[in-house]
């Protein structure tokens, strides 16, 4: 097929439309630049690269200020992660242009400086390729979450299907069954994330629930009633599209490995510094993804051992907001109630909470159900249904954005593969 829109027209417009600011206006907003030694010849190019750094800073600062907006935009919500990924895609595009310009310059001039810049760009490319597996793992994770959402949706709709005042034992049983299936999946996931420690918190609560829910052990292979050990675990290990031994924590480590600010005296500090900014941004985006949704060895990834050396705050505009986001992410991962959860994604947390609330309401419900009790159950079911709807709304664009990042990395890699033959023209 013809390679017409190689630059990807598919959804490239979306990230730009969501950030209305132009580079020019950004330059005005940004704080004064820390001085860097510039050679006169490179001054113009470096001015562009400086603007790039400021842009990264503004995008990150934007992501930091999530408090006021509320709604679906909160920290680690699907929408927020999507914005983080959009920011990455945007910066990557700008960086690509800058790097291409620098490559042009190299062809004209050459020299040690350009070789250093070239190396920085190539290194970034290698890091980005490592993030491809993160994207794939995250896609699996999103798929997994969608499965949870389906089960939760079954539970909610079982109860909401009954006319008001008509919620009976049968409805409760039906909802309970879906919840227990959900619990089985969540418990597996939490156990996997928490390592040998086993499930605790919500998942454990739900898991204890599933044994009561049906009151009989049937030889039927319904997933929910099968034990959490072998068959389910087997299924899960097969469903990951990364290999069995793949570890999110190790991958993050690899992405961040050797990520260090270029020395200021290096002649090509401009482009190298931009590549550095991209590397840090890439690491942050990968970390957020891995932390958000279930994926192999997520538990270890929550801890901040894989963080690259801190970028010096004073030298880079984007360092303070980046560090703040890193800090917040690490903090979130340390929180007791989150550590045992199945993903830091807000929607997952909401799903777990609502599912638990519904399970408790069902547990507490006397039969026959009446008055307040029924209202409570219905309310919990309605809440869970709303959570499911919000999750569906959030996951779909997130999933698309994850793919977009994947494709961007692939395309820039394809461009980067150009050999001397192809550059010579």
């Amino acid at each position: 097929m013809p390679a017409t829109d190689f630059q990807g027209s598919s959804s490239s417009s979306s990230p730009f439309s969501s950030f209305g600011r132009s580079l020019l206006s950004l330059r005005r907003d940004a704080p004064a630049s820390p001085a860097m030694p510039l050679s006169a010849a490179a001054a113009e190019e470096d001015a562009g690269l400086d603007a790039f750094q400021r842009h990264v800073a503004v995008l990150l600062a934007d992501l930091r200020g999530d408090g006021g907006g509320g709604g679906g935009d909160g920290f680690m919500s699907a929408a927020w992660i999507r914005r983080l990924l959009e920011a990455y895609v945007m910066c990557q595009e700008e960086f690509r242009v800058a790097a291409a310009a620098a490559a042009q310059a190299r062809r004209r001039g050459g020299g040690v400086a350009q070789q250093q810049a070239e190396r920085a760009v190539a290194e970034l490319g290698e890091r980005a390729v490592k993030a491809l597996d993160v994207c794939n793992a995250a896609r699996d994770g999103v798929d997994q979450v969608r499965r949870w959402e389906r089960l939760a949706g079954v539970a909610a709709s079982a109860l909401l299907a009954a006319a008001p005042g008509e919620v009976h034992e049968g409805h409760l049983r039906r909802a309970r069954k879906a919840l227990s299936d959900l619990a089985a999946l969540l418990a597996d996931e939490a156990a996997a994330a928490a390592g040998a420690g086993g499930a605790c918190g919500v998942a454990a609560f739900l898991a204890s629930h599933r044994n009561r829910s049906f009151g009989r052990a049937r030889a039927s292979p319904t997933r929910g009633s099968s034990s959490a050990s072998s068959p389910t675990a087997h299924f899960r290990s097969l469903s990951w599209s990364v290999s069995r031994t793949w570890s999110a924590a190790r991958q993050l480590q690899a992405i961040g490995a050797g990520l260090a600010p270029p020395r200021a005296h290096e002649a090509a500090a401009g482009l190298a510094a931009s590549a550095y900014a991209m590397g840090c941004l890439l690491h942050l985006a990968s970390w957020a993804l891995v932390a958000a949704v279930p994926c192999p060895d997520r538990g270890a990834a929550l801890q901040a051992h894989h963080l690259p050396a801190q970028p010096p705050r004073a030298a880079f505009h984007w360092a303070p907001p980046l560090l703040a986001l890193q800090e917040r992410l690490a903090e979130e991962g340390r929180r007791k109630d989150r550590r045992s959860s199945c993903g830091l994604l807000r929607e997952i947390h909401a799903l777990e909470k609502s599912a638990q609330r519904l399970a408790e309401a069902i547990d507490a419900a006397p039969v026959p159900l009446a008055g307040d009790r029924e209202a409570e159950v219905r309310e919990a079911a309605a809440e869970l249904a709303a959570v499911c709807a919000a999750m569906r709304d959030g996951l779909e664009p997130l999933e698309r954005q994850v793919r977009e990042v994947f494709h961007r990395i692939v395309r820039s890699r394809m461009e980067g593969l150009d050999s001397p033959a192809l550059n010579a023209g």
């Binding site: 097929m1 013809p2 390679a3 190689f6 598919s10 390729v129 491809l132 597996d133 794939n136 896609r139 699996d140 798929d143 499965r147 389906r150 089960l151 949706g153 079954v154 709709s157 299907a161 009976h168 034992e169 049968g170 049983r173 039906r174 069954k177 879906a178 049906f214 009989r216 049937r218 030889a219 039927s220 292979p221 319904t222 997933r223 299924f235 097969l238 469903s239 990951w240 599209s241 290999s243 069995r244 793949w246 991958q251 690899a254 026959p368 999933e399 698309r400 793919r403 494709h407 692939v410 395309r411 890699r413 394809m414 593969l417 150009d418 050999s419 001397p420 033959a421 192809l422 023209g425």
Partner: protein, 626 residues
């Protein structure tokens, strides 16, 4: 009543069911006496049904059971529903409380039975599923032949595997669709799905179905031994291993799309299409999404790997597989849900094409920039010539894919330079692939010219060029390449190597022959001419021996060409020698050491000429020393 239950009777084969229905009719007809006693009877009937469920349940949960027994659940559920509808239609009268309780009882009983039915559904899906038959997995046994594979970039491969066999799966793949659920159980699965949908259990039904089929797909992938490798792992896999993985993956992809997914799709349609098309689509999409993405990820990983020339064939294999399967994939995922898969598929196809194009350009550049530091010994065929000619010969098998890949690139990408454009203008009848192959051939020729300059001896230079161009011509003539490079090319290059042969001949033999001329012999007297004749023979012998010594070391590997060159030499040299001898040998009769001058008979020379170009140096001088 009959009518309602016949919804779920299939082909009237379930006698049990019909018997039970008949019984129910009887029961119901008995309860028309009065509403009060009817309520009572309904209660009795419901209790009986409850018992029935429990007994079914305890029987079925403990043993493997026949799919037609599943219909008993449906039967019970139908009855509960009918009774409950009947109940609602009754006027509760003074017994409102009891009536209400009974309604709730009926509803709860229904929900309980539904839960059992759902389990029965899962049971059928898991217990009666059939894996893909072994004959459809045949690609496992035929894979990984030990064919050579351009595995070395040392430019020394003589025989090159042409196209990785792509038709081995086609044999079984056309129109083969397997039954994933045993036909005997399919009817029950369908009926239960329908009942679940009509009873508002559609979400559960889809969820169960998707889970069961996802398990099946994972088992399938387990059985075809496709290891899951992350992109990073794939990129660091050695080429040999990757190459065999690619072959395996190509076969798996064909079988997966043509057989597995087609069957999966048909199963989804069987089970759900009556209910709603979009449900069938959604389920199919959810089931297959992960595995399709997984396979595509493999292709993607290969596409972004390095563009070594030897990769081109595998890349083209992959491109062709995906391109071939595109119509099938498009029809499998045509509906709204499949858009994401289709996008991914197109994207991977695009990247594979791009990668193949780059690798192709890389290959050409590699030839261009290849410099030999040493002359090829004996003027033989350069390994580069063999490599390149075998390479492009193998490429002709991919001309269709190459045509579509190269068509638009010349304008868009700089790396296919203007020579193609120029050629396209002068040879409008050639395909893009043909033009590119011609361009590669001429790049090779230019490289050979450069390599020939490494010889100090002009004559060896000629032999080298003759050998190499002859090799090229032979490769072209005896393969599909002839239709790509064309008759003109063959004619031109035939002439080229013949010219080289002529130049060689002139440079090598004109000097030798000069001693056999009549110059200075007719005019001089008999005594003078005897001396001249002696000198001429002596010089001829010396120069012949010198040529012999040097050129026996040279090589013309092609038997026919060697033969031709010798014949041509012998025609000139032996003929001239015979004539000269015939004319002047008499003059030396009686002279001392006559045999020093007439050392060789023409037949001797003829035999000696056979030693030329055999690649092993021989010398005449010590044995015939004057």
């Amino acid at each position: 009543m009959e009518h309602a239950s016949s919804d779920f009777a299939v082909d009237g084969q379930y006698i049990v069911q019909n018997m039970m229905a008949a019984e129910l009719v009887k029961q119901c007809s008995n309860i028309t006496l009065g509403e009060e006693s009817e309520t009572c009877n309904i209660k009795q009937a419901l209790k009986a049904l409850r018992k029935k469920i429990h007994s079914l349940d305890s029987e079925n949960s403990r043993r493997v059971h026949d799919p037609h027994e599943s219909f008993e659940y449906l039967e019970v559920l139908c009855k509960i529903r009918q009774l409950s509808e009947r109940l609602r239609s009754l006027d509760p009268g003074g017994e409102a409380k009891e009536h209400g309780d009974l309604t709730v009882y009926a509803d709860d009983l229904f929900e309980m039975a539904m839960a059992r039915l759902e389990e029965e559904f899962v049971y059928l899906l898991t217990h009666y599923k059939q894996p893909l038959g072994q004959e459809l997995l045949s690609f496992r046994s035929t894979e990984d032949g030990s064919t050579e594979d351009f595995s070395s970039s040392s430019f020394s491969e003589e025989q090159i595997e042409a196209k990785a066999t792509q038709n081995d799966v086609n044999g079984v793949s056309e129109c083969v669709v397997a039954d994933f659920i045993q036909p005997g159980a399919l009817a029950a699965v369908k009926s239960i799905a329908k009942f679940m949908f009509l009873s508002g259990y559609d979400k559960e039904c889809c969820q169960d179905y998707i889970s069961a089929r996802q398990d099946a797909i994972d088992e399938y992938f387990g059985s075809v031994c496709l290891d899951k490798l992350s992109i990073e792992e794939l990129m660091s896999t050695s080429w040999d291993k990757l190459s065999s993985l690619i072959k395996r993956c190509n076969r798996a992809m064909r079988a997966f799309v043509r057989v597995y997914l087609a069957s999966e799709r048909r199963l989804s349609s069987h089970v759900f299409a009556e209910l709603s098309d979009s449900t069938a689509d959604l389920c199919f999409y959810e089931i297959s999404f992960n595995s399709v993405m997984q396979l595509l990820s493999f292709y993607q990983a290969v596409a972004i790997g390095s563009s070594k020339p030897e990769k081109l064939f595998r890349l083209l294999d992959m491109y062709e597989v995906l391109d071939d399967l595109l119509p099938e994939v498009e029809s499998l995922f045509e509906a709204g849900y499949g858009v994401m898969i289709l996008n991914e598929y197109h994207e991977v196809l695009l990247q594979l094409g791009e990668s193949a194009r780059k690798t192709f350009a890389e290959f050409k550049y590699a030839i261009q920039s290849y410099t030999s530091s040493n002359a090829v010994p004996r003027g033989a065929v350069h390994p580069l010539t063999k490599y390149v000619m075998n390479y492009i010969k193998a490429l002709t098998a991919y001309s269709k894919a190459l045509d579509s890949l190269l068509k638009d690139t010349d304008r868009k990408y700089q790396h296919f330079t203007s020579d193609i454009q120029l050629m396209a203008n002068s040879y409008p009848s050639f395909t893009v692939t043909a033009l590119h192959l011609q361009s590669i051939a001429s790049v090779l020729e230019a490289n050979l010219e450069a390599a020939s300059r490494l010889y100090k001896d002009d004559r060896l230079q000629n032999i080298f060029m003759m050998n190499n161009i002859h090799y090229m011509v032979q490769k072209v003539k005896n393969s599909d390449l002839k239709s790509f490079l064309g008759d003109d090319w063959i004619r031109v290059h035939n002439r080229k190597f013949q010219q080289q042969a002529m130049r060689y001949e002139r440079a090598s033999w004109n000097n030798v022959l000069s001693y056999l001329s009549d110059d200075g012999l007719c005019a001089a007297g008999a005594a003078a001419s005897r001396k001249t004749i002696q000198d001429k023979f002596k010089n001829f012998n010396l120069s012949f021996e010198e040529v012999y010594r040097v050129q026996t070391a040279w090589s013309v590997p092609d038997d026919q060409l060697r033969e031709d060159v010798r014949i041509s030499i012998s025609l000139k040299v032996i003929q001239a020698y015979r004539t000269f001898m015939g004319r002047y040998s008499g003059n030396l009769d009686g002279t001392r050491h006559r045999d020093r001058y007439i050392k060789y008979r023409p037949e001797d020379l003829e035999t000696l000429l056979l030693d030329l170009f055999e690649g092993s140096q021989k010398s005449l001088q010590h044995s015939f020393r004057v």
